[in-house]
Symmetry: C2
Subunit: 228 residues, 2 copies
């Protein structure tokens, strides 16, 4: 298949140690299915190429149980400069690592984010995007159980009652499974609703189509956090 004009070609998934598995594979499996009918490339990008674990690094103090995890291969390092039209940023307990360990990812987003055609974040991927400055002056949402991480983006308007938020070319989702809904909503906008429905049906998934229908903000008593 030839690349289609206007449609994005190169997808990049950022992967840090301690990523949340469904944050990554919910969106990617929507895109796996989409890639059966559209020419698309995927780079999986981490600080170094090779195996990246779902297990949070020792520095987080959260890796007490080490015997249940998965390893996914990063195809590119953050220095490799893989072409990225659509950058996907997941969340996960790995983001509780010290600032210095997150720096390569923040620097990568600073460098690549502003030139992307689209950015999609899942869960606490939004605070990571905010830390890089790319969410300044934008509306966004994030995981409702980790709402305090909105502090990473003091110049962002954080919307509590949202399954996802679109602001221009940036789409931010709520926690974990919301990554599937935001990706299908994004597919609907970019490739058409018929395509989004076809992908959703292939996954036998009943997708959320109302971005404000979110019971989890109430569950965690989250309030909007306006930009300072």
């Amino acid at each position: 298949m030839a690349p289609e004009p206007q449609l994005p070609l190169n997808f990049g998934m950022l992967l840090f140690p301690g990523f949340q598995a469904l944050d990554v594979f919910g969106p990617l499996d929507c895109l796996n299915i989409l890639s059966q009918s559209h020419k698309m490339n995927l780079s999986i990008i981490s600080q170094t190429r090779g195996s990246v674990s779902t297990e949070p690094p020792e520095s987080t103090g959260l890796n007490v149980l080490q015997s249940f995890n998965q390893h996914v291969l990063a195809t590119h390092s953050t220095d490799d400069d893989a072409p990225v039209d659509v950058l996907l940023i997941p969340g996960g307990l790995g983001l509780r690592a010290p600032e210095a360990e997150l720096a390569p990812y923040v620097e990568y987003i600073k460098k690549v984010g502003p030139r992307c055609q689209y950015i999609i974040t899942i869960c606490t991927g939004a605070p990571l995007l905010a830390k890089s400055g790319v969410l300044d002056g934008k509306r966004a949402t994030t995981n409702k159980a980790a709402w305090r991480f909105t502090a990473w983006g003091p110049k962002t308007d954080w919307i509590a009652r949202a399954r996802w938020v679109q602001d221009g070319n940036i789409w931010t989702a709520a926690g974990v499974s919301a990554g599937i809904d935001v990706t299908l909503a994004w597919i609907g906008t970019v490739y058409g609703e018929e395509t989004a429905t076809a992908v959703s049906n292939r996954m036998e998934y009943r997708r959320a189509t109302d971005s404000t229908d979110d019971p989890f903000s109430a569950l965690h008593d989250c309030q909007d956090v306006p930009a300072q």
Copy 2:
């Protein structure tokens, strides 16, 4: 944490080339979260240890687009005899490979399946389980868009209108995303509803609690297939 009496300790995810990513990572991320409060081990089992791709093998004729895929590390080979109390079997286009390529997986299930405490299949994982004989005389369901694969289990009662089916210690799910619902239902039964709800909330997922609520069987006009 010490192992808990009665609760399963060792989980095994079977992984063949061309697995469907969400079939694997929907259930695994439910279990990742569960493993933060319970002692659990995970083995990822493939014909050989090492990297396994979501890309269907050449023999399926379905790998026309090779530039969008993910690689996951198998920790054990099917010969390694990793301890498995709960065996998870995903589906995927890789199951369209010739019989000879699937044989190692069928043989593995024949060997390990009958001694498992629980078996959970997702999508076309159920026909693979059926091919191994372990679904003989049981009720089961599978992916509704691939309903013809019920032919792999002529001695199984295939239930069309089902998000998942439980028959004794065997739980079979419908397509792709149904893997999340069957895993949460299984957690509810084995660990209690409160735990299932806690995991579901952590994923910000609205889980299906009615196993017969399935719009996709009607979409694909699937009918029950009784055992012959």
